[in-house]
Subunit: 248 residues, 2 copies
C-alpha cells in the first residue's frame, strides 16, 4: 500500500491547519496519523496531497513515522489556491443523519459557510459542531476542494436577521404562492455574495415567514410545484445557484 | 385524530391503484389500512387525499372500516392531473442507505422514471425493487406529486445503450476534461425528453466511458471543479434541469 500511495502520487488527500510550502514540515497526530499509517499503511517515502484552505494543494512526502504521529514534508504545489463561491447555507438543523447528509452534500457543492438556525418549529435543540466540522473536512478531502466550509455557531432566526450583512442577498426557499422560480430569481440578483435560507421540517411559522419576507435583502424563491423536504430544498438550491452563478 | 383528519380536509395523502371519481369506492388493505386506521386513527367520516397518477387528486371520505381494511369514497377532485416532466434518472445502484436517499430525493425533484444500471465498477449486485418502489410512493405522497415514478428493472450499461430511444438526450455526468457546464448544455438541448446518467462510486471504466460518449444522443456535462459523489451528482443534475427546463 505504501507503494500504491507512492505510485498514485498522492491519492490520499488530507486537510491540515499548518502552512504548506516547499520543504514545510507538517506533523500529523491522532486520527489523521492513524488513518495514514494504519489504515492506508503509508511508509516513509509515500506521497499524499495536503491542503489547508490558504496555500493551494501540495504533494508531500512521509519523512518520519512514529507510533502515533507522522511528519510530512512539502514537495511541490499541485494546484494554486482558488476562490470558493461566496455562498452560505443557513438551515434549520435536522436530525442526525440528514444533518450529516446536508453538511456532506453542501460541502461537495461548494458552500463557503454553514449556519445552523434555530426556528420556532426546529425540533433539534443541540448542534454537534464537532461532528459537523468532521463531516465537512471529510467531504472537502474527498471532493477535491481546496477549502473547508466554515461551520458557524447556531443562532436564532431573530438574531440572524438582526445581524445580517445587508449587502448579501438571501434566497429564501419559500412555500408561499408568490415566490419566483429560483432560476429566474438567480439570474436577476446583482451580487455573487448570497445565502440560501431553508426552514425546518414543517416550515417557518407565519410570523417568522413575515419577518423574513419583510427584509430588503430577502428574495423568496420556489423550487416548483412539489413540496421538498428541507434538506432537499437546501441542496437543490445550492446546486442550481452554483450552476447558474457559481463555479459549476 | 379523526377530527383532525376531518378538519384539515385531507392532510393524509395516499397513493392508490384504483380509479378515482365522484363516488368511486376505494378499498385499502394491509399497510395502508393499518396506517390510516391505527397510526393516524381515522374513523368513519374522516377525509384523506388520494392520487393514482391518472385522475388527479381526490378528497375521499372513510365510509367503512374493518379490522384490516377500510373503504373510502371519492368526494371531489382537488387537483387535476398534471404532466410530470419527462426526465429519467439512470444510475448505478449504490448501497442501501444512499439508494433510499436517491429514490426519495429524485422523487421529490420530480423524476419520471428511475433506471438502475449495472456497470463494471458497480459493487451492488442485487436491487431491491420493492424497497425502491415503497420509497418512491412514500416520497410522492409527502411531496404532493400526482404521480409515482416508474421503477425500472435493472439492466447492464451495454443493454441500456443498445436499446436506447435515440430521440431522448442523455445528460452524462462526466468527470472528463471537455464536458460542458451543465447549465450551458441544458440550455442547448432541443428536447424536453431527457435522462440523466451517473456512474458508480469510482466512476465508469474507460471503455464504458468511451462507449457512452460515442453515442449521438449523449451530452457529457460537468458539475464544476469539485468531484461529487455519484448520488450528489444525480440529484444536483436533476435539480438543475428542473430549474432550467423542467417545472421548477
Amino acid at each position: 500500500m505504501a507503494d500504491e500511495l507512492h505510485d498514485t502520487g498522492g491519492k490520499v488527500r488530507l486537510h491540515v491547519e499548518a502552512a504548506l510550502s516547499d520543504g514545510a514540515r507538517v506533523v500529523l497526530e491522532d486520527a489523521q496519523a492513524h488513518y495514514l499509517l494504519h489504515v492506508m499503511r503509508a511508509k516513509t517515502g509515500a506521497r499524499v496531497s495536503l491542503f489547508n484552505g490558504r496555500d493551494g494543494e501540495w504533494l508531500a512526502r512521509v519523512a518520519e513515522t512514529a507510533k502515533r504521529s507522522c511528519t510530512l514534508v512539502g514537495e511541490r504545489q499541485t494546484r494554486a489556491q482558488d476562490a470558493t463561491p461566496d455562498v452560505w447555507l443557513c438551515f434549520a438543523p435536522v436530525k442526525k443523519t440528514p444533518a450529516d447528509y446536508v453538511v456532506q452534500k453542501a460541502t461537495e457543492l461548494g458552500v463557503r459557510a454553514l449556519q445552523p438556525v434555530f426556528t420556532r418549529r426546529t425540533i433539534v435543540t443541540r448542534i454537534n459542531e464537532e461532528r459537523m466540522k468532521a463531516n465537512a473536512i471529510e467531504a472537502a478531502e474527498q471532493s477535491e476542494r481546496l477549502t473547508v466550509p466554515e461551520i458557524r455557531e447556531a443562532v436564532t432566526l431573530d438574531k440572524l436577521l438582526r445581524a445580517w450583512p445587508r449587502e448579501r442577498s438571501v434566497l429564501f426557499c419559500d412555500e408561499g404562492g408568490d415566490a419566483q422560480p429560483i432560476a429566474k430569481a438567480a439570474a436577476k440578483i446583482d451580487t455573487n455574495s448570497i445565502a440560501i435560507l431553508t426552514g425546518p421540517e414543517g416550515g417557518f411559522d407565519p410570523a417568522e415567514r413575515d419577518a423574513i419576507r419583510s427584509q430588503s435583502f430577502v428574495v423568496p424563491v420556489t423550487l416548483g410545484p412539489r413540496i421538498l423536504r428541507a434538506d432537499t430544498a437546501a441542496l437543490a438550491s445550492l446546486a442550481i445557484w452554483q450552476a447558474l452563478r457559481g463555479d459549476s
